[in-house]
Subunit: 505 residues, 2 copies
């Protein structure tokens, strides 16, 4: 097996020890252990599961600054960003602990027997049960919050599913430290052996073997469109197909409505550039597409954005491969006959991605769907539209998105209202007067959206609703209390939401 | 296009007029109209949508006995069954009207802004929106409750999705009458043009064109495994893949636990035979597999079941094709070297399926997975197991199921408890001391289950939870009240369940 070592994102140099890498036999062993742990793990009380999640957070915190230093070096991301991401990761575990305790995830429903009815109605009780062992693919761009102990792992463990993580090879050191924290928490909380495993390897074989293992019941993935679709294909071809929750691709259109643009074009341009270049643009929610109607303020927007971008001193990108793909994507745009280069950032050494802003007109965009594809990094395309009809036509052609943002003033409200039904069909989240790059980890968040933003639009990968991805309903008919799961005995667990004859109790 | 006429199930003779059949151009027109109706239909108030569903029920009732007579002749099913099914169909529409009014389907979540936090938290509000136009494939075996105005149509309309039905060619007359009732209700309730369409045709091209139409956002299907998987494949190959909710195949294992068998083997045999032969065995939940541990009462079970089956005078099956497939399936079992024929029902003329009960031993079952496949009709296979371990091994090999049934007495409770975790992983519904062929249309029902019982195990096609299949979440960030959907304005619709900061309000 090829050697796997940490790579310093800024220099491209390997550092630290070589990591043990894993192959098909390790996948089989991890999945067998996860399967063996499943019934025990899903059977523990909600409070114990919640405590385990919180303990994982505590163990991550206990890694201290070593974790931040390792993640900084492997990812090239700055300290403040990674400290924030660590807080987000721990907060996310705490959120799911709260969710587990509140019990709404169990979806309890009780339809009491109606013995007097003709024919008599049986007693029917429903709860959600976890799907089984879940495979999680760590993402490169959030080495903490979307990786080893990220949202997929937290929500799957919260649902009662053992987790086998395929660690991202761009941050093996960070992954190993976090995996150690999870395993320490599992031991401290006396969780069943096999509830968590962490596998690493440089090629695609490891991940393919994991998705194909018959014990894996669902897959969580954040990454590229090609990677996500490859996993979806593998999962669909199994003897028993399983769901792949892949969060893949989004250009997150920002609509500059006329009144807002006229009133504060320059301010919007500066805000846009800050959102675009943050974290070297390596966000799923990066604003890669800007739609504007020709008119007052657009030149001010371009000037302010261009000025900020031109002065932008680039940070290293996560990996050499990501940098190369970014360079190729921006080169295609720069060389496109119908695309003008509005601004370019400063050049940087090594794997630093020069920020870039391009523009085209609506007709050219409509003629070439490739212009709507994601270029992962700090690159964005402004589409100049003649009027609302053209803006709508461009939006209609845009693929499914994680987010759509409206920059608007009160005078834009009527146009916004006309556009909203279309926006709802295009994206999982609609923002007003913000930037899409902030994603709250909360209950009303949707970090999902129509294909190809995700492979399953009916879900989210951020926020408490993410737990639902790993659950399925089971109905119990005329089971005596002793055989029912504890939460469905009698009137159902006190304090947990439930539907009694369809009425929320 | 080939002519489509009603076929008398009992005689195989065509009767009545030829129906207009539909082709690709009709599919395109119906889908375009459904798409055009979508925003208007999803935008109407919940009360209006609920009233529409109730009106459909009233229009079906108003068809009177003509509908029953037509369905009897086309399906070969008896009057009492079809009258019951009509009641179920109307009741189902009423159930979804109640669900729509109660508002739980909207999944409202509000996370109020926290302006004092650093950084400030935006206002986030979430609701479920309908996916878009839904294609529904009518099933042959429930010409009312799983067909034109069946559970898929009712739940999709309840969710706010226009519906294009591909009527089942086995009951074009019944389908046309019910479609007329739905269209009359749509007119009476001033629903948008295109909210419902009904297409018929004899071949597979019509259905394929429907699933491939880019305006179709989801598919509901009840039928054969081969049919369901073909639709899944088409849907996955689209430029934008869409979910197919296919309910396909189940043998619904019945476990005869030792104490129950010893105490009432004969009674169980008689009950089993009644469940097996009801409706010519043409139920998704037909008990096609019986698992028993050798011991007291098993011979009494076999004798009683055999006696009832041997005396069973068969009813016509739904179609000649279904009858031919049934004959082929039972012939395979009868000719299998490791399978004994325990009982056969009376022969009948035409498309009447002779009931049949077979047996094999656990080792033979384990050696030949084909023995676990569904034979649609009144055929069942008894697997004789030496002990609990063998019973468990057989169960472990069985594919995903809609139901598993425990026939048990108090003395069987410990064994039942040991088996339950496995049963939960195998089926969507677990019954005690009943027969799987009754499916309540209620809130805690799951008519679903792991593959290949269905293509999406995280759902149900019967009961109020079926509405969730056609919804996806959208999050609104910092939208002013005027732009928010009405149900998310202010504190959210009064009386509808909602999570405020994760707490059920």
């Amino acid at each position: 097996m090829p050697e796997l070592r940490s790579i310093d994102a800024a220099t491209g140099e390997a550092f630290g020890p070589a990591f043990d890498t894993h192959g098909p036999a390790d996948v089989a062993a991890a999945c067998a252990a996860a399967e063996a742990a499943f019934d025990a793990y899903r059977g523990i009380a909600a409070e114990a599961r919640a405590a385990f999640l919180e303990r994982i957070g505590a163990e991550i915190a206990a890694l201290g600054d070593d974790l931040i230093v390792m993640a900084m070096r492997e990812s090239g991301l700055p300290r403040m960003r990674l400290e924030g991401e660590r807080g987000r990761t721990i907060g996310q575990l705490k959120l799911f602990a709260d969710v587990v305790r509140r019990g709404g995830w169990a979806g309890l429903r009780i339809d009491p027997a109606l013995p007097e009815r003709t024919p008599p109605r049986p007693d029917l009780r429903l709860r959600m049960i976890p799907l089984g062992p879940v495979a999680v693919f760590g993402a490169s761009n959030f080495p903490l919050a979307f990786s080893t102990a990220g949202g997929d792992t937290a929500s799957a463990l919260a649902a009662g599913c053992p987790v086998v993580v395929k660690g991202h090879p761009a941050h093996p050191g960070t992954g190993a430290m976090v995996a150690g924290a999870i395993l320490a928490a599992a031991r401290a909380c006396a969780m069943p052996e096999g509830v968590f495993a962490h596998l690493v390897g440089a090629g695609n074989e490891l991940g393919a073997a994991l998705v194909q293992d018959p014990r894996i019941a669902a897959v969580g993935f954040t990454g590229s469109r090609s990677g996500g679709l490859a996993l979806v294909k593998l999962a669909q071809a199994r003897a028993v197909p399983v769901p792949v929750y892949a969060e893949m691709s989004s250009v997150n259109p920002v609509l500059l409505l006329p009144a807002a643009l006229a009133a504060r074009g320059g301010e919007l341009g500066a805000g846009f550039a800050a959102s675009l270049t943050m974290g070297a643009g390596q966000f799923c929610t990066n604003p890669g597409l800007v739609l504007a109607i020709e008119g007052a303020g657009l030149e001010a927007f371009i000037a302010a954005a261009g000025e900020a971008i031109a002065a932008h001193d680039p940070a290293p990108m996560l990996t050499g491969g990501i940098h190369a793909a970014y360079e190729a994507g921006t080169a295609l745009l720069a060389g496109h006959a119908k695309v003008a280069t509005l601004a370019q950032g400063l050049e940087g050494a090594g794997a630093r991605g020069q920020a870039a802003m391009f523009s085209t007109d609506a007709a050219s965009f409509l003629a070439d769907p490739a212009l709507g594809h994601e270029v992962f990094g700090a690159s964005s395309l402004l589409v100049r539209c003649a009027d609302e009809a053209e803006l709508r036509a461009v939006l209609a052609q845009v693929e499914g998105q994680l987010t759509v943002t409206l920059q608007m003033d009160d005078a834009d409200a009527a146009m916004a209202a006309r556009l909203l039904p279309l926006l709802e069909r295009k994206a999982g989240r609609i923002l007003r007067n913000g930037w899409p790059t902030g994603v709250e980890v909360t209950h009303a968040m949707v970090h999902g959206g129509p294909y190809p933003a995700t492979s399953v639009a009916r879900t989210t990968s951020v926020g408490s609703m993410a737990i639902d991805r790993f659950l399925r309903p089971v109905s119990y008919q005329n089971l005596p209390d002793a055989l029912l799961p504890p939460e469905l005995r009698g009137g159902g667990t006190q304090g947990w939401p439930k539907l009694i004859d369809g009425e929320l109790a």
